[in-house]
Symmetry: C4
Subunit: 290 residues, 4 copies
């Protein structure tokens, strides 16, 4: 169909690619499964190594070992990344895909840490790679559930945007009011700082690092908290309803019958005649004439 | 229809008004859209300027510039407000409408700050103006969602009032009890202060600025918290159910039409033929035969 | 019907009672309404007086005045209570009813405060009396909503009890574990204290007066918090579903038709024949025979 | 059926076993009920004793008495455990069942405390034994509710696992970012410590023992909190929808019967006649004529 400069699928080179592709990208062969399991363990271990390295007591004793482990894993992941690039037909497309970017970002921090101290902590983004290798467990249903969640969230995204705009506007105004009422001497040093406090309060997190001190400030806080309550309630209700609806639609099980007169579907389960053209709907293969 | 002293729509003055009205109030012409986008940017920038001015480190270096920016924006918004008043037929009606008041309140604080220091922080109410200019993005669906939310809230407003009265009564009694049990020496200095604590606790915010110290106080707090739990649960459930119901009603949209052949109803809104007897359903008063 | 020693309704004494009963207990006459409004204001004012009296700065200046106000209101409420006792037929029944007890408890604290200092703060239970006088606003729908809420809560009460038992058991075990892990030196001074902490944490209140310090304690806390999450989620879901169900049942609008054959009701709206005896159901007054 | 070495049910020994089994394991005889009530009280008392012993002021005065009580109860529970082992046919099966393990774990800590100080606090796991004795109150419906809850949780378990994996990945990445941004000098001493903070914050617990100090850290926290919000909302919605669905399925219970007159189905479970044609519906295979 197109004149790409790559060899045809029958050449030895291509079969080498196909074989590696099968192992690295798929999980339907013993070798592919083994590769994914090893990758899974390697990712978890390397993330744990990065985490432990930041604990002072551990770093003191095993710091060098952890650094070595980190470089070894980064080396392995780099080789894997290069292999992935080599064994796909269109390396650029892969490199720009979501997982391609994650694969690259998962190795870069170690190299960056040579120039920027601490950058290697970003290696924890490797955790995102886990999403891909979960498929080795044949968790098709998990993927389905994740998709169902994503669909419900997408279906509600406009409501969520409206909600966030309302929250941001409320937080801005509330922050300015509290900054005026309480003032810098009570910890509300600026409007952005007050907005941080308003978010912490409305979300019911309530760190307690900044608290209202004046009676008026406390009254306003109480109102803000009750307002923040609805902030929880409203989106919860929205999403609950959305999930219920999506599920009901799926459960509704409209008749899958096509009308023989006009070919349209979407008839109720108890319909005997096509609601679009009046032609009789047949249940057991023979048409009932109107 | 009425003898208003304004010139007829054909006079040059009126056409000037019409043209400006179109630009300032509508967003269906290139000029109107451009106006709304500029306004959007101006509002966001002026709110940011007010916010940054309260940050000490920023105010030290750029304080004068930010003040100038604020006055410039206030000047522009004042001109815009006057133009809005001039190009509507009934300026008083506009000035008393919700957006008219917001437009005025969005410029007043700067002038007030000449007499009352700090008043200009209330300029952040300008954020409310954003609601109007969002229309430039043709976010009709957003508006719909906002209306759906508002409807669900309005439909639940009696339950919400009942809920708030129960909360207030509970908070008052709990505040008095804790004031008696813990006393001023443990931070519960007065009943209003204890009520503030009760709201902070029941809402699960839990700042930690006031905490029970005596064993009895801690026990009462634990009970209050479990009670506060139901406070979250009850209204969440109410609103969820309300949103579900509103949505179901909207989804139902069954036609109220009776079939002229068999007289039955319950047909879908898009049905053209009776699903029970196959007789044509008529929309404009005449039957369509199958 | 019964030989009670009270005078007949026609005697002047009885009519005096009936008249007062009408004013004090009902709200369907101008005098009754006025009485309820005055009572409403008196209750709110007396609760506010008690609250303000505990604020040191207010008590300093207006302490005596507030005390006088409190005694005046208590005197008035005492007179009202005696009148209520006098104008009902069965004073003992009234005195033992919910509102009878509330009416008594609402005046006792002032007298108790002569012997026990501070007892008068319990006067805030007067707020409960507000529930009765709300009826003056003809808030029938509010009462309906309150009943709907109560019904949903009652229908879920077994689930709530199961839920509370699970929470208490979890809190007890978690409290003992944290007491062992963190120990008194980190604030977990005893198992009850740890249980208080566990409730504060699981409910996401998080005062921060007691916090885990050891790494193991922090890990256990994180697990406890995720567990506490489900504690919110589970009952919320239960009640949402319960409210939806109650509402759906009410919305279902079963046909109110009684069968002419067997007299039973509960037929679907689209039923043409009685599902119990097979007799035709008539819509417009005439029976359709099977 | 099998050649077990135990005596036949008719021997005196077996009847002794049967009698004891009835008392100890069942609650359908007066003796069985009395046994369960005594056990219930004993469990509650022994758990209270363990709890009180950790309160310094109580331990000082009643420490010895509480220790004696603990040993007495442990002795009684040990005897009970041995009796349970003796009077079941297959002691090993019982000992390995959930309740068998709980019964053993409920007595071990006292003996362990001879070697490991403080181990006896684990006696609070005795609270788990309460689950068994609740049956004395004939709380069949409670058990049903508990099962309904468990079913809803099980039906949602894949979504919950997906949800926890998302949370863990988010917490890991957020912990590393905050460790980089805030650093050890602001309390974020290591990535695991930052992850603890992220969980405490996203769950809206917000102890306030670790709080962001830098402006950038506060901004990231605000975003994290809004993200944590969805963490509450999403699973709440899932479970609500799940419970609704399970309940609807149970409520539906439509008869799957076809009418022999017109062949239609969709009849209520209590219908005896077809609601479409009036023909009798048969339950045991024969038609009842109208």
């Amino acid at each position: 169909m197109e004149s790409n400069p790559e060899p045809s699928p029958q050449t030895p080179s291509e079969s080498w690619r196909v074989r590696y592709h099968r192992i690295i990208f798929e999980a339907d062969t013993p070798a592919g499964k083994a590769f994914d399991v090893v990758l899974l363990v390697a990712i978890v271990l390397s993330v744990l190594a990065v985490m432990l390295e930041t604990v002072p007591s551990v770093a003191e004793r095993h710091g060098t070992a952890l650094r070595v482990i980190e470089w070894v894993f980064t080396g392995l992941f780099t080789i894997e990344y290069v292999l992935r690039l080599l064994c796909v037909r269109r390396p650029v497309l892969y490199a720009r895909s979501f997982f391609g970017v994650v694969d690259l970002v998962a190795i870069l921090p170690t190299y960056l840490s040579l120039f920027i101290p601490g950058a290697h902590e970003l290696l924890v983004v490797r955790a995102l790679r886990l999403v891909r290798v979960f498929r080795v467990f044949k968790l098709a249903r998990f993927v389905n559930e994740a998709h169902a969640l994503r669909d419900a969230l997408l279906a509600s995204r406009q409501k969520i945007v409206v909600f966030l705009l309302v929250v941001l506007t409320a937080v801005t105004i509330m922050g300015a009011v509290m900054h005026l009422v309480e003032g810098p001497e009570n910890g509300f040093t600026s409007i952005p700082e007050s907005m941080y406090w308003a978010i912490v309060t409305m979300s019911t997190v309530g760190f307690g690092d900044i608290v209202p001190v004046t009676p008026l400030g406390k009254m306003i806080s109480a109102v803000l908290i009750l307002f923040g309550y609805s902030m929880i309630i409203v989106p919860t209700g929205i999403l609950s309803a959305e999930i219920s609806r999506v599920r009901n639609l799926r459960d509704a099980q409209l008749s899958t019958q096509h009308c023989r007169g006009c070919g349209r579907e979407g008839h109720d389960a108890d319909a005997k005649f096509c609601k679009f053209c009046g032609h009789g709907l047949d249940r057991e293969g023979e048409g009932v004439e109107a």
